[in-house]
């Protein structure tokens, strides 16, 4: 341990080895180490500074002067003739050589010598806001790193990059990865018929801000039946839940009662002592299968062969019959196909019309992802809110949700749910008994 010691202050002791008898035990603890020496040294240093600077650091010119004055012993010899200074002066002169720290700002401070002192800056300062942002970035919530630039060239008409033919380049050309066919497949539509929904379905007249009466009435009726159905379903579910709870309570009560009864009558019931036994007489009663005789096997074989032959003959017969009227059949099949195609085309045309318009989508049974597709908002202006004026229109529905739902519906992304915070470890709560810790 370095010991600070002023050069002038002699301790008076002879130099000696630093003594540390043992590194073990409590004496070796940091708090028990003797530092009086260090403290002493520091105090002396401080005193020196107060008296006008550390003597060791001073130049010799400051310390020594050529003594041109008279003998210094004279005043001691003739004390009466020497003028003594005042006691007050003595005290004042004892004051520290270090200038006091100004506690107050003075106007004079502003005037400088013309050289502007550099403003002290904390270059490494990070504000709390910034810190919060950094934490977020570290958690992966970075802002967009896509460079925002105006388009400066025609993407679809850009000239192909010139192929640099370097004769010295002996490396084989880089092979571009081929786009797999699966990339071009349409995303999985959530509709039951598996068709792709248009990104923006066409609005029907019922969605007009000033709808014609029949169209509006139709929509209103549709929506209200839907709402009523949903409410009924909810009520039913609630009733079922209540019934279930009740049944559970009842069965629990019964079980309790039964248990009680059982406890009561443990010794009164029939037991093996009285000759009753349960679960013993369940002997396998099925007859053991016997082996087939060779004759039986032969018979079975014959019969099978005969059956096969008969089947073959019948088939051949029908085939021959068909061969004879093959042209007729071909015509028939063709006709059938045509009819089928016609009817299907009609049906398809109907459906495609319905698909591109807004309406109730029929969803597939299996959902994509873990969570359900969010419900559609009710997009209907109620009759008492229906206004003819555009100014008074109260817009319905939420476009943001609508767009998001459309993405999900078209299978572009799987549905997610916002999870506001992580699942946290469950804490066990216990009651403290401090309320009992008092004495009257």
């Amino acid at each position: 341990m370095p010991v600070l010691r002023s050069a002038t202050a002699g301790s008076g002791e002879a130099p000696k080895q630093f003594s540390q008898p043992s590194r073990k035990g409590k004496k070796a603890w940091r708090k028990n180490v003797d530092v009086t020496e260090v403290e002493e040294g520091l105090r002396e240093l401080n005193d020196e500074i107060i008296r006008g600077g550390v003597i060791r650091e001073k130049a010799s010119e400051d310390l020594f002067v050529l003594d041109v004055a008279g003998d210094s012993k004279i005043p001691q010899k003739f004390p009466k003739h020497v003028k003594k200074g005042l006691k007050a002066d003595e005290i004042i002169n004892k004051r520290s050589a270090v200038p006091a720290v100004p506690m107050r700002k003075r106007p004079g401070d502003k005037t400088t010598d013309g050289v502007i002192a550099a403003k002290r800056q904390r270059t490494d300062w990070v504000s709390h806001k910034e810190l919060a942002r950094l934490r977020k970035v570290a958690d992966g919530h970075h802002e967009s790193t896509v460079a925002v630039k105006d388009a400066t060239f025609d993407l679809w008409d850009a000239p192909a990059e010139p192929v640099a033919q370097d004769p010295t380049d002996f490396l084989p050309e880089k092979v571009e990865a081929k786009v797999p066919k699966s990339m071009k497949q349409q995303p999985l539509s959530l509709l039951s018929n598996g068709k792709q929904l248009p990104a923006v379905p066409k609005p029907t007249g019922g969605y007009s801000y000033n709808p014609s009466f029949p169209e509006y009435e139709k929509r209103l009726a549709e929506e209200s039946t839907k709402a009523i159905e949903a409410e009924q379903k909810r009520l039913e579910a609630a009733a079922a839940e209540a019934a279930k709870l009740e049944a559970a309570a009842r069965s629990a009560a019964e079980a309790d009662a039964a248990e009680e009864r059982a406890n009561m009558s443990e010794w009164e019931e029939d037991s093996e002592w009285e000759g009753f036994q349960s679960g013993v007489d369940e002997r396998p009663s099925a007859k053991q299968p016997k082996r087939k005789t060779q004759a039986q096997r032969n018979r079975i074989k014959r019969r099978k062969e005969e059956e096969q032959l008969a089947k073959h003959k019948a088939e051949m017969k029908t085939r021959r019959a068909q061969e004879q009227r093959i042209k007729e059949i071909a015509a028939e099949v063709e006709d059938k196909e045509k009819q089928k195609a016609l009817v299907l085309a009609q049906a398809a045309a109907e459906e495609s019309d319905a698909d591109s318009e807004i309406g109730e989508e029929k969803l597939r049974r299996k959902q994509l992802g873990k969570y359900k597709l969010p419900e559609k908002d009710l997009e209907l202006v109620l009759p008492d809110e229906l206004q003819e004026s555009l100014r008074l229109l109260k817009p319905e529905g939420n476009l943001l949700k609508d767009r998001y739902r459309s993405m999900l519906l078209r299978g572009k992304v799987e549905s997610r749910r916002h999870i506001p915070f992580k699942k946290q470890a469950r804490k066990k709560v216990t009651e403290k008994w401090t309320h009992k810790d008092f004495v009257i």
Partner: protein
């Protein structure tokens, strides 16, 4: 012996990967992976059996094609994402040590690529890859436009930064400018959700939805990270689409943007479109045209073939033209008067547009000066009016800058759009209440003479019908006609309120209507007053008739046979007696009608038989579907018939009054 197959070595287990497997393979974080999938167009798939795919004990829910994920490994963006991931690690390590300044240094170095030389990335190549041709991009523009217009109208939050909103707005306005200049807006519809617009861009119909102003609530169940990812991609896409569209009509992209005007909410007015430099630009355009156009020999051959094809087949020709070359629409507009079905003309877009007799629908408002009152929605009105030819649109100063005039008393104004009810009480006593807010100098209920006042719906209805609607129907305070959707496809036989009755009623209905007329006439002679009621009853009967059509048909047929036999008998008897036949049906008109009805019934019967036969050949499932379809169709047509009959009645009453 065949080799024993191990489980999980082939088939679904190889073709699909779970999301976690994909993430581990690509060494990305889940949000990054999601982003990448959205940008690259990789969608979740569904294996036929989930059990066969995943070997894990917990059920996986999202699967991808292995090949897709394999292909993603070649994506240059993956490297960027990985770099960012490592940066995140460094930052979190620094933060964990308490070296906040170190963390900040790392972050700033990464976010200032120009200083550190580490570039941020663009999505150009992804756009190019997903839309190999420009037409592909146009086809997917619906979603893009709806999203960007929506985001342009959102309030800025921590999830949706203001920068993104401003960018969306700018791109949307640029796109609107293109639509105005090229006059390619076709339809618009005011719905309760927002305003629908449809435009025809180079032969592709694009439909998008724009929300009303100040209406967007941010709801919790929307994932903004995902939406933001989509928007980032679509912003890049629309930027390139705008560039292409602007250059195709000889404009410079990006247009000059005036920030000061934008501060004043000038919106469309903040942009100044510039043509390419006059001489050089044209040359350049020509060069481009040459570059676009196919070989002249081939073109000549194609033209020959086209000429040989009849002009009626205009659609095919138009498609061909659209394929053959990018047309210069400005030139086309200049030569707009030429016959439109000439396939030799170098431009397909004009051909595709329906011909309106005489007037060009896209210069509908070209002769007007229109003033918007302060209560009207300025943005949509300005856009629609301008894209349908109106050059001078003025509005009240509170609606923002960029107006042609803010002076309501400007004598050049021909139309004013107002949306407030006329106030009945006169305001004269109060005098002119000075309103500092607006530039309005008129009292509440005053009208400037020599100017037409209409409600906003007039604009939309005129645009959708392609002709100017009568303004008196849309006068302020008048009860407006219903605003119909222009996107409803006209179905054969469905009731359409905009068409005259004769054009839309099917034959049998017309015949019945004729009968009703006669009956009504007869009624009138007898009991004049009850026409309306009797008509009602008739209609009810009609409906019943339709329901029991088949039975009726059979009965009718028998009756006819019987009648025929009787007629024959009479004729024979007359011949025997040597007399002329007295025709029972004296009226030739009724006779003709009778014949028509018979023919109709016969036709209907035949059709029904055909259908029945066809139905018999369908599978049970399809037959059920078909029957259901028929049921709904019948119901619909019954409804339509009811509506028509109602209208018939109203028209008759009107005619009687007149």
């Amino acid at each position: 012996m065949a080799r024993i197959k191990k489980k999980g070595q082939a088939g679904a287990a190889k073709n699909f990967v779970t999301r976690n497997q994909a993430i581990r393979k690509l060494q990305l974080s889940l949000p990054d992976f999601r982003k990448l999938c959205i940008w690259k167009g990789i969608y979740p798939r569904e294996p036929r059996s989930k059990k066969k795919v995943s070997k894990s004990s917990t059920a996986s829910t999202t699967f991808y094609y292995t090949k897709d994920i394999q292909y993603l490994l070649h994506e240059p963006l993956v490297q960027k994402f990985r770099d960012h991931k490592s940066l995140e690690k460094k930052i979190s390590r620094a933060l964990g040590r308490g070296d906040v300044s170190d963390a900040k240094r790392l972050e700033t170095n990464a976010s200032r690529p120009e200083k550190t030389g580490k570039p941020t990335y663009t999505l150009d190549h992804v756009v190019r890859e997903r839309y190999p041709t420009f037409v592909d991009a146009l086809r997917d523009l619906d979603d893009c436009l709806s999203m960007l217009f929506l985001f342009a109208n959102l309030p800025s939050t921590s999830m949706v930064p203001a920068k993104m909103i401003a960018r969306c707005e700018r791109l949307c306005l640029e796109f609107q400018h293109y639509l105005i200049v090229s006059k390619s807006l076709t339809k618009s519809f005011l719905s309760i959700k927002g305003i629908y617009y449809q435009a025809n861009i180079q032969g592709e119909d694009v439909l998008w939805l724009v929300p009303y102003r100040f209406n967007q609530r941010i709801v919790g169940d929307v994932d903004f990270r995902i939406m933001g990812t989509f928007v980032e991609f679509y912003m890049t896409l629309l930027g390139f689409v705008n560039f292409r569209l602007y250059t195709s009509i000889g404009l410079k992209y990006p247009p000059k943007f005036d920030a000061v005007k934008d501060e004043n909410a000038a919106e469309l007015g903040a942009f100044t479109l510039e043509g390419k430099t006059l001489i050089g630009g044209e040359e350049q355009k020509k060069l481009e045209d040459v570059a676009h156009k196919p070989d002249p020999k081939v073109q000549a051959a194609v033209n020959k073939v086209l000429k040989s094809i009849t002009n009626g087949d205009s659609n095919g020709a138009a498609a061909e033209e659209a394929k053959n070359g990018d047309s210069d629409e400005v030139d086309q507009d200049a030569a707009g008067a030429i016959d439109k079905f000439e396939p030799a003309a170098p431009g397909g877009d004009i051909l595709l547009q329906p011909s309106y007799n005489g007037t060009n629908p896209n210069s509908l408002f070209s002769n007007f000066t229109i003033y918007l009152s302060r209560e009207t929605p300025r943005q949509p009105l300005e856009f629609i009016l301008k894209s349908f030819g109106c050059k001078r649109v003025g509005w009240d100063a509170v609606l923002g800058g960029g107006a042609f005039t803010t002076d309501e008393l400007d004598p050049s104004i021909t139309h004013q759009i107002v949306d407030r009810p006329p106030i009945q009480a006169s305001m004269d006593e109060d005098g002119d209440g000075e309103d500092n807010q607006t530039a309005q100098k008129l009292a509440a209920n005053r009208r400037v003479p020599g100017r037409i006042y209409v409600q906003p719906q007039w604009v939309w209805d005129s645009v959708n019908d392609g002709e100017l609607k009568e303004p008196h129907l849309y006068a302020p305070g008048a009860s407006l006609p219903p605003h119909l959707s222009p996107f409803v496809r006209k179905v054969q036989g469905a009731y359409d309120p905009t068409m005259p009755l004769e054009d839309q009623e099917p034959e049998h209905e017309a015949l019945e209507a004729g009968d009703d007329d006669e009956e009504a006439d007869a009624d009138e002679t007898v009991e004049g007053m009850d026409v309306a009621e009797s008509g009602d009853e008739d209609e009810d009967e009609d409906e019943e008739d339709e329901d029991e059509q088949d039975e009726d048909d059979e009965e009718e047929e028998e009756e006819e046979d019987h009648n025929d036999a009787l007629q024959r008998q009479i004729e024979l008897e007359a011949e025997m007696a040597g007399k002329t036949v007295q025709s029972k049906t004296a009226n030739p008109k009724t006779k003709a009608k009778e014949d028509a009805r018979k023919a109709l019934a016969k036709k209907a019967r035949e059709e029904a038989e055909d259908l029945e036969r066809a139905k018999g050949m369908l599978s049970k499932k399809k037959r059920k579907l078909f029957e259901q379809m028929q049921y709904t169709n019948n119901k619909k047509s019954a409804e339509d018939a009811k509506l028509r009959s109602k209208r018939r009645k109203v028209e008759k009453e009107k005619a009687a009054k007149a």
